[in-house]
Structure formats: structure tokens, C-alpha cells
Amino acid sequence: MNQFIKSITDRVISIWKITDEVARGKAVETIEVELEEMENVFGVLVLGSFIGMPSPPMQISLDLMPFMEKELILMMEKVDTANEPIAQLFSILDIG
């Protein structure tokens, strides 16, 4: 009997944990996209000279480049979705 109660409790706890995680994930989904967009803007701002954008003095870009691995990868990813901004927006807002 004790075993049965323990198994039920474990399951309830596990369901609670997953629900909590999903809810937290949902809550920050949009902010995460916004953050990603900001990081992309930061990347383009600093490393813009490499893609023909106006950029800060070269030494500022070069000094920061070694620490901008994430922004570099993000910029590459953004290149893929850059042609379909509406589709991307719909998927963020969960429309359709």
C-alpha cells in the first residue's frame, strides 16, 4: 500500500515539475526571441564591417570578436530566416 502511495506521489511530483517547466518555458518564449534578436543586432553592429555594414573602429571589433562566438553563430542562423520575416513572426506568436 505504502509503495502504491509513493508511486502516485512520485508521479504527481513529476507531472508538477514538467508542467512548471513548460509554463516557465512558455512564459519566457517571446523574451527569448527578443533576446536573440538583440544579440543578433549586437553581432551585426560589432562585426558589421565583415558584411559591409558601417562599423565601429576596427580595433573595437577585433578586440571583442574572440568573445562573440554565440553572436557569430546566431548571425549565421539569422541569414537562413532573413528572407521570411513574416513566417518567423507568425511562428513566434504561434499563429496559424
Binding site: 516557465r24 518555458g25 512564459a27 519566457v28 523574451i31 527569448e32 527578443e34 533576446l35 538583440m38 544579440e39 543586432v41 549586437f42 553592429l45 560589432v46 564591417s49 565601429p56 573602429p57 576596427m58 580595433q59 573595437i60 577585433l62 578586440d63 571583442l64 570578436m65 574572440p66 568573445f67 562573440m68 562566438e69
Partner: protein
């Protein structure tokens, strides 16, 4: 505490920047000050003036007087090598991309020329902090102005990048807090680097703006063209809050009274360097010239 005073010599090409810098350094060394004369001009006239082969290693020209020539290329190469090394260490998996190819192009980027001079300047201030005077023979006007402008311009960019980065970090912390309920965050390396850069450029800007640490001498000849360019230099420096210490009228008939100008240069102390019949080449000739004109120069220095 870095007590060395930076004495810069700027002006139109051919007005006698290098000669004025050489004369000043010899004059100060004779007075018993510890002096280092640095040639930041890629044309490197100091070797010709002192008739000595100068390099990036300090060379003793006279008691109390050392000379150095800065090789811009060397500083650009050294800087890019450092960045390259950092990138290789961080993105070791990217080595397959052959970064060398990109770096050979970056070397020719606009802006690295003046940054090389800034790096050399910082190193010299560090290495010769115990000296009384660091005399800098500057490159032609355009590059010199970029050199003085670099800290202010970089700071504008840095302030913007800093505020964007802080916003990013704030958002990132918010997400981490909600998702993982953790309150300890890793220090953002990019933010740290931006803050380091801000400090570096702010120190440089403060040094250039501090008239006790930095004395900019503007050399000109009694002709219309060099006068016009001098006015432009004065205005460009005023835009970045750097003031002129003195104007030097080179190749002038020596007069005990101070030359008077009726325009923007009027409020700046002036010094007349007389025209010399013999070319001022070699330390002995420079010393003789100073001896010959000592009384007049001293008089001007006291009055003007």
C-alpha cells in the same frame, strides 16, 4: 604615478616639425631633464637629423637624451597576432576555416594605422614613466588628427555598445531566473572586454585633454598655406577638447618680442625659431644653434 609630460609636434608637411622636436629635446636634455624623443612619423626624419640609425630600441644620443623610432607595421602585426591567438584559443574548431586568409586582409583596414600609433604611445608611456619629457615627432596632419581623435570616437561607439550589452544581459538574467530559478550568473566576457576598452580610451582621452600631461606644439612657417592648415588643426583639436600649448614660428627672423597673430592663433603662446643658414643636421650643430640663440629663446620663453 606616471609623471612624464608628452610634448607633441604637429603641423603641415615640411614646416620643420622634426627639427623643432629635435631642438626641443636637445634643449630640455641640456637643462638636465630626462628626455626621450620618439618618431611617430613613418617618414622617420629623426635618423637624418641626428645622423644616427635609430630603431625601436632606445638609442643614447647625448647625456639625458634617448631616441626611438616607431615601426607602425610592427605594431599592427603584433596586435593582429594577439587577436588571432585569442580567436584560435576560443574557437579552436574554426581553425579549419583558415583564418590567416582573413587576417592578411584586416591588416590593410582603415583605422589600424592610428591604432598602431596609440598602442606604441601607451607602451612608451609605460616603459618610460620615470622620464621627465617624452617628445613626439608626429606624422602628417591627417594621421595625427586621427591619432588624437581615436579615443573620443571609440568612446562614442563603446558607450552605445555598452548600453545594448547591458540590456541583453538584463534580459538574459531574467530568462535564467524564471527558467532555472538560479541567481548566480556567469560574468559576461563581452561586457568585461567593453568595460576594459572604455577604461583604456578614457585614460587616453584624459591624458590628451590634461594640459599638464600633454603639450601640443603647432609648428608653422611665415606663409599663408601653413597658417591656414594650422587654423584647421586648431579647430579640429578644439572639437575634441584638446588645447594647443604653443605655436612655433619656424624659420622666422629672430625677434625678442612675441609675434602677434590677429586670428584664432592669437591667444596661444608663440615661440620664434630663427632661420638657420646652415642645415640643422647632427647633434653638434643643433647644440651650437641653441647656444647661439640661447639668450633670445630664453627671453621669449619667459615673456610669451
Amino acid at each position: 604615478m606616471n609623471k612624464a609630460t608628452n610634448v607633441f609636434f604637429m603641423g603641415k608637411g615640411g614646416v620643420g616639425k622634426s627639427t623643432s622636436a629635435a631642438l626641443t629635446s636637445v634643449f630640455l636634455a641640456q637643462k638636465g631633464f630626462q628626455v626621450l624623443i620618439v618618431s611617430l612619423d613613418p617618414a622617420h626624419n629623426q635618423s637624418d637629423i641626428f645622423e644616427k640609425k635609430l630603431s625601436d630600441k632606445p638609442f643614447q644620443l647625448a647625456p639625458n637624451l634617448l631616441a626611438i623610432e616607431i615601426d607602425q607595421e610592427f605594431w599592427i602585426r603584433r596586435y593582429l597576432k594577439d587577436v588571432h591567438h585569442q580567436i584560435n584559443r576560443t574557437y579552436s574548431y574554426l581553425t579549419a576555416l583558415n583564418l590567416d586568409k582573413y587576417f592578411s586582409v584586416i591588416k590593410h583596414s582603415p583605422g589600424l594605422e592610428e591604432y598602431a600609433l596609440i598602442l606604441a604611445f601607451e607602451q612608451i608611456r609605460k616603459d618610460f614613466s620615470r622620464y621627465d619629457y617624452l617628445v613626439f615627432d608626429m606624422p602628417p596632419t591627417a594621421l595625427s588628427l586621427k591619432f588624437f581623435n581615436l579615443p573620443s570616437l571609440s568612446l562614442i561607439w563603446i558607450e552605445h555598445l555598452l548600453s545594448l550589452r547591458q540590456e541583453i544581459i538584463q534580459k538574459r538574467e531574467l530568462i535564467t531566473k524564471i527558467k532555472i530559478l538560479k541567481k548566480e550568473f556567469e560574468r559576461d566576457k563581452v561586457l568585461k572586454k567593453i568595460e576594459e576598452q572604455r577604461e583604456q580610451y578614457q585614460t587616453l582621452k584624459d591624458t590628451f585633454e590634461n594640459s599638464e600631461l600633454t603639450q601640443i606644439n603647432l609648428v608653422l612657417n611665415p606663409d599663408k598655406l601653413s597658417h591656414a592648415e594650422s587654423i584647421r588643426i586648431l579647430r579640429a583639436l578644439q572639437d575634441i577638447h584638446i588645447s594647443l600649448y604653443r605655436t612655433i614660428n619656424n624659420k622666422m627672423p629672430l625677434d625678442s618680442s612675441c609675434a602677434v597673430s590677429d586670428d584664432a592663433l592669437a591667444n596661444i603662446p608663440m615661440l620664434n625659431f630663427p632661420y638657420s643658414e646652415t642645415p640643422l643636421i647632427g647633434i653638434d650643430i643643433l647644440q651650437q644653434f641653441l647656444e647661439k640663440n640661447e639668450d633670445q629663446l630664453e627671453k621669449q620663453l619667459n615673456v610669451c
